[in-house]
């Protein structure tokens, strides 16, 4: 069955609440700041927002429901998307359907998380039942350990070198240099990357994202409505999501995009070669490589060769994670799953945090999340365009 298209769906007002390494505020504060940012950016009132999509790891004991009272909102559509790194695209897909069907005219999608000094450990130890039962007791390495397994496998099976991963990380750091919001802006070269402190072999420090506090948000409405309000917007050409794809792969070599990518490109009416940039989910570089292959930027198994042949900074032939990605911005919990999406919007709206990709008209965004046990379960991707 073919998915209905996303005609007439527009994204408005990319908002990032500047990240901080640690925060004494709760997630509620960060989410409220993001909502305030959306209203300020668009001149809309709180009452104009009819729907709300929320993603957060640190909102407990609340869910999106509690937030309505916190934020003083009366809504006719509400969603809570606990999908971490995939939540940006998944929230977008759901909000798009709400707008298309008339369930809500304007939906605010917000992800926000705080980071107290002990938040990360607590999130890890109770992340999922499988994690608490069958992963956390094993050295409590968190996602570093899980991605070390996957990285080790990729290096042995597909001949990927540390230098290949390093090239991606170094390019992203270069992208972050002019981004005042990036928490990590110290110049990084390949030697720094290769010689960094060991974290979980073969992963070293600059393979890993730094947990922080922050929030990201955007609005979804019809293009008609955006135009009527005089708001600049970008268009959604196509979007997919997939959960627990390929469970029989003994080690995760595919994140899930492969199952739906043909549909994504067909629905979008463009292909990988038409993309002016790619905002990949970059919790670890091996996952970036997985997305490059599965979304069809290169044939599967040829990611390493692709990396060697291309340049990934904002001024290269394959601009990747143009604000520096999470590896330079920090990973603000579930907001990490929104970062690529709002950065794609900014590039297309010509309002970058840092450097602008010249003449960008089309971009791809990808999300990946939830290491439930030995692998990430949620994958999602979207294609956006400047109208």
């Amino acid at each position: 069955m073919t998915r209905q298209d996303y005609k007439g769906v527009a994204l408005v007002a990319p908002v990032t609440v500047p990240y901080r390494r640690y925060s004494t505020r709760d997630a509620h504060w960060w989410i409220a700041r993001a909502l305030a940012g959306l209203l300020k950016d668009t001149g809309l009132n709180k009452d104009d927002i009819e729907g709300l999509g929320i993603s957060s790891f640190t909102l407990a004991p609340d869910t999106a429901v509690g937030l309505t009272q916190h934020l003083g909102m009366s809504l006719r559509w509400l969603d809570h998307v606990p999908m971490g790194g995939a939540s940006g695209v998944v929230c977008l897909r759901r909000a798009a359907r709400a707008v298309q069907s008339g369930d809500a005219e304007i939906v605010a999608c917000i992800a926000g998380d705080t980071n107290h000094v002990d938040t990360f450990r607590r999130t890890l130890s109770t992340f999922s039942r499988f994690a608490q039962d069958a992963v956390y007791p094993y050295g409590s390495g968190g996602p570093n350990a899980s991605f070390a397994f996957i990285t080790d496998w990729w290096m042995r099976e597909f001949g990927v070198q540390r230098e290949d991963f390093g090239k991606l990380c170094v390019a992203q750091r270069r992208n972050a240099m002019d981004n005042p919001y990036a928490l990590l802006r110290k110049p990084l070269d390949l030697d720094d990357y290769l010689g960094a402190r060991m974290i979980a072999e073969p992963l070293r420090l600059f393979d890993c994202v730094m947990p922080c506090a922050g929030a990201d948000a955007y609005l979804v409405m019809t293009a008609e409505r955006a135009d009527a309000l005089g708001l600049e917007s970008v268009r959604l050409l196509g979007a997919i999501e997939r959960h627990n794809a390929f469970p029989d792969d003994p080690v995760q070599v595919r994140g899930g995009w492969e199952a739906d990518r043909d549909e994504l490109w067909e629905q979008s009416g463009v292909g990988p070669d038409d993309m002016d940039f790619f905002q990949a989910y970059d919790d670890y570089p091996v996952i970036t490589l997985m997305q490059i292959e599965e979304l069809g930027f290169c044939p599967s198994g040829e990611g390493a060769a692709f990396v060697r042949e291309h340049e990934f900074a904002y001024d290269g032939d394959c601009p990747l994670n143009t604000c520096g990605g999470q590896l330079s911005m920090g990973q603000a919990g579930a907001a990490g799953g929104f970062l690529g999406l709002v950065e794609a919007m900014r590039q297309l709206l010509r309002r970058p945090l840092g450097r602008q990709v010249a003449d960008a008209t089309h971009g791809a965004v990808s999300g990946f999340g939830m290491i439930n046990y030995d692998r990430g379960l949620c994958s999602a991707a979207a294609v956006l365009a400047r109208p």
């Binding site: 130890s125 039942r129 608490q132 007791p137 390495g141 397994f149 496998w153 060991m198 046990y373 030995d374």
Partner: protein, 393 residues
């Protein structure tokens, strides 16, 4: 740290030294991590089933960073992702001598310091005691290089324990003796061992127990409480409560006194590197599970001790001290003389206790009688009660 009820099933198996996973009774699929319904056919009927222990190491890592203070002190820490012959892919602690992947490994289930059942991958071949890996200590309570207190060194079981511990490389063995002025058979052999120091210890003497606790409690790594009073009485065989009281004084209240005198110091030393405080062993009886009427009051005192040792285990859990309960069937000693064989030789019981410490198990049923008994008890405790009543007639 929270754990699901299903995952505690793995702990319960590991507590007795078994590596078992849930297997679907309808379609046969083996499940991991533990679940509530079969991943393949959604059946709710899952049975803990022993695994072959054969697996293939797929990928590995060595952690140089941990989010947990316990592991932070023990880095680097090796982990593997492996596929079991029965199908599931599991995360496991990886012995340092396992070759890099791809490689065959042997998988076992152990209790970790926090008492959680965890999977451990070993190289194929004989590495039963894992002693070639310094991190062995996290899963085992090996008496080697450790200082051990045996609370009753006079009994045949106590003497056998002392010899077995010396053989196993214990550094110091304190041997408790109530009424130390009384000579007994075997005294000379025990006294000759260079590791042995005799200490006066009468579990009915509260102040005496506290005094010895204050003296050596901060040095004891493993405490083996084998002191007991054993009389072969039911209810109707005797008038009055005097003998039963003597059993309770030693078997139940004696354990309580010991736990109060030695528990706090041992708890505080559980995380010391190297030869840390590691284990507390209670020699109970399989009669603790269900009353054996010819030894009725003794059974009751051992049942009380079992209940108290569960309390002790819960209180010790956070510290990392393993509380091991030993449930022998009839032991070949004085008070079991009228019992027909098979009876457990004291030497065999001592050997099994030392092996149990090495394997880091929590519940030990040494000998055929104990194993048969516990099997019957598990199958149906009520039926066992009736069987024992008939035996007593």
């Amino acid at each position: 740290m929270p754990r699901s009820r299903a995952a505690l099933g793995l702990t319960a198996q590991a507590a007795e030294g078994r590596f078992a996973l849930q297997r679907c009774e309808e379609c046969g699929q083996v499940q991991y991590p533990p679940v509530d319904s079969c991943r393949a056919c959604l059946s709710g009927e899952l049975l803990w089933t022993p695994m072959s222990g054969r697996g293939e190491l797929l990928t590995h890592t060595k952690l140089h960073h941990s989010n947990d203070p316990f592991y932070r002190e023990r880095l680097p820490w090796r982990l593997g992702l492996l596929r079991l012959e029965e199908g599931p892919v599991v995360v496991a602690h990886l012995h340092q001598e396992c070759p890099p992947p791809p490689a065959p490994v042997r998988v076992t289930a152990k209790l970790d310091k926090a008492g959680r059942g965890v999977l451990v991958a070993l190289p194929t071949g004989d590495t039963r005691d894992m002693s070639t890996d310094p991190r062995n200590g996290e899963f085992s309570c090996d008496p080697r290089f450790r200082k051990v207190l045996v609370t009753d060194g006079k009994s045949r079981v106590g003497q056998a324990l002392v010899h077995e511990l010396a053989e196993a490389g214990a550094a110091v063995i304190w041997v408790g003796q109530a009424e130390p002025w009384k000579k007994y058979d075997g005294q000379e052999a025990v006294g000759k061992l260079p590791q042995v120091t005799v200490v006066p210890l009468d579990l009915t003497d509260e102040r005496g127990v506290m005094r010895i606790g204050a003296e050596i409690g901060a040095r004891v790594d493993i405490l083996i409480n084998n002191a007991e009073v054993h009389r072969t009485e039911g209810i109707a065989t005797r008038a009055g409560a005097e003998l039963a009281r003597r059993e309770m004084e030693v078997n139940y209240l004696g354990l309580l006194r010991l736990a109060q005198a030695f528990g706090p110091a041992m708890r505080s030393r559980a995380a010391d590197g190297g030869a840390s405080a590691a284990a507390w062993v209670n020699v109970l009886s399989v009669y603790a599970l269900s009353n054996y009427p010819p030894h009725g009051t003794y059974s009751a005192s051992k049942a009380a001790a079992l209940s108290l040792s569960q309390c002790l285990r819960a209180e010790m859990q956070d510290s990392g001290i393993r509380v091991m309960n030993v449930f022998p069937g009839p032991v070949d000693e004085e008070w079991n003389q009228p019992m027909p064989p098979p009876k457990l030789a004291p030497e065999r019981l001592a050997r099994d206790i030392v092996l149990g410490l090495r394997d880091g198990v929590e519940d030990l049923y040494p000998g055929d009688v104990a194993r048969e008994w516990v099997e019957r008890w598990r199958d149906n405790p009520k039926v066992l009660e009736r069987e024992l009543a008939l035996e007593a007639q």
